[in-house]
């Protein structure tokens, strides 16, 4: 029982980070119908940037987030403009998958040339601190990571629901043709949307780097989890992604604490298969074009 509750606490705290990563990915899908297989690699890139800023300049990974998000926003816009925009509509869904996979490999290659393939971790002074409440352990880093993820998700929510840009995004998600007819510049929205997706990956990367050790190949683990979350939540639904992140991450943490950490990976796939059997469009997905 103790292990179970500890697992739940652990899972919910971890869910914040996954929700952050997955929200960027599902946003990109919602706007462009592009499944970004490079999202995991961008998270790891964000983690390496935070690592470098910390080791070279002593910048705390939480404080590095404004720097890395701006850098990665630019990278995201560039990926959209250079690689995804030229695709023709009829092969877009297939080719964009392969292109983002290639981008992931490119990032992995650059990371392994620059930082070698050994595991890195960001060792802040508070990395190993924790509180014990009623016999349950809560790691400081994870709590802060959770709170930060909530804050960034809140900002994303405000951006999508309270700003002119957010209205344009929602218009493009619902019906790109009508949005274009009404004067929304879909290409610009797409570029900025991909940038925002990359920026959330950067923020998540800082947090991820604080909590877990990482190497250039870590993105394979991440992307499989992210994809399960995004499919479970319903492709393109940011709210769905957050809830799915909580479900998936909690059940995986429970499996890790009660069965074995080696099998927690499998939880993601089992959940994914169950979802596809029962509700192929995910929890909050729609059959046609979605809404955020």
């Amino acid at each position: 029982m103790h292990a179970l509750i500890q697992g739940v606490i652990f899972g919910v705290l971890t869910a914040g980070v996954y929700a952050l990563m997955a929200s960027g990915q599902t946003l990109i899908f919602g706007i462009m119908k592009v499944i970004n297989l490079a999202q995991g690699a961008m998270v790891i890139l964000g983690a390496y940037l935070a690592y470098q800023l910390f080791t070279s300049f002593g910048i705390d990974p939480f404080l590095a987030i404004p720097i890395t998000t701006v850098l990665m926003f630019g990278l995201g816009v560039a990926i959209q403009l250079v690689f995804l925009r030229p695709l023709r509509a009829q092969d877009k869904s297939e080719l964009s998958l392969l292109i983002t996979f290639a981008v992931a490999l490119l990032i992995e290659g650059v990371l392994s040339v620059t930082w070698r393939t050994t595991d890195r971790s960001i060792n802040t002074s508070y990395a190993n601190a924790s509180w014990t409440i009623l016999g349950y352990q809560i790691t400081t880093v994870r709590l802060w990571a959770f709170l930060l993820s909530l804050a960034v998700l809140g900002l994303l929510f405000l951006l999508l629901n309270r700003t002119r840009f957010g209205r344009a995004v929602r218009a493009v998600v619902q019906n790109p043709e009508s949005a274009r007819l009404l004067g929304v510049e879909a290409q610009r929205v797409s570029a900025v949307g991909f940038g925002i997706g990359a920026a959330t990956a950067a923020a998540a990367g800082s947090v991820y780097g604080l909590v877990y050790p990482f190497n250039p190949g870590s993105h394979y683990d991440l992307i499989s989890r992210l994809l399960s979350i995004v499919v479970l939540g319903g492709m393109g639904s940011v709210g769905g992604a957050v809830i799915a992140a909580v479900i998936v991450s909690t059940s995986s943490a429970i499996v890790a604490s009660t069965v074995s950490p080696a099998w927690s990976e499998m939880t993601f796939f089992v959940i994914l298969i169950l979802v596809l059997l029962v509700r192929p469009q995910g929890l909050f997905g729609t059959v046609g074009r979605g809404a955020i």
């Binding site: 509509a89 998958l97 996979f101 490999l105 994809l227 990976e265 796939f269 994914l272």
Partner: protein, 376 residues
Amino acid sequence: MSSVDASVERASGALRGAAAIAGPLRGAVFFGALIVTPMFGLQHWVLNMLVFVLMFAVMSSAWNLVGGFAGYPSLGHAAFFGIGAYTIGLIFRNHALTNGYEPFLWLPVIGLVGALIGWPIAAISMRTRADVFAIVTITFLFVVQTLAFNLRGITGGSQGFAMPIAPFPAATFELPFYYVLLALLAFTAGLTFAIIRSKLGLSLASVRADEDKARGIGVPTTGVKVLAFSISVGLTAMVGGVWAYYESFVYPQFAVDPLITIAIVLMTFLGGRATLWGPIVGAFILEGGQQYLAYELGGSQFYLIAYALVFLLIMLFLPRGILPTIAERRRQRVRRSTGGATPPPSLLPASPMRPAALDGDGRTSGINMRSAQAKS
């Protein structure tokens, strides 16, 4: 916009081309040349290169059955390569070889194992459309990778395990593998050729063009998709088996490697999807080039970067592949020389001015609009 009409036209074009003598003749020349190639006393590294080229030629041809003809881009094929490798490894792990050719006789069993595992995977993942399908298959790949590392009792974990070394004379060590893979390639190409000409090929083309309409007119879409996937992954598993025996060692880093998936897909795209020769052309160019570079330069960290860049350039500049691009150029030249009619609209580049719901043949129908929405 790919409409049923355009793809039926393409399929019937393929039929006409296949009926002509050119197709079989081309095949006979190609395989004849490959049969005599090793007789020129090639060096070991060249034969080794050809063995790998043939492995990838079989795998990309097999991938093409489901990724090309049916339009379902599986990103999980490397998992079946690994399944084949581990299966043959487990059979021969504690088993003295009586005859060097024995593992080859087991290949049909390996193919069957791969196809049987692929069947339920396909039945579940084919419930989704192209993009989510890719997600499900890639997730399956990662799961098999995790299993390969974690099921230490069976797979030996990250250390892997050894298999008996093939008892062939060192001077001609590669030859048995070369000819077995060549036979497998001939089988795969022959199968593809037969499928293109059969009702199955036509059904797959209709699934690729517009699955809802295809089901509407009575094509058993689920059945043909699952069948194509099972055949495809069965062939992939057989290559995995040959690979494990060739290396006489099974280790998870290479047996279940996402790079294998991406190489297969890239080769098929480079040569041309949904064509008989495209995947083979792509495999000879890419794997040949890669093995040659590896031999000349040695392995280096820059390999991944170079690979990704080649991939991106191909996607940007040759999205339809070499063979379809050549075929289109030739058609245009013929049309220009005969001063003939304007090309059908399906060949015109899509311009932003054309509404998305307008189909290739200029019709706008409610069905088209609905199916366009459902697919997106």
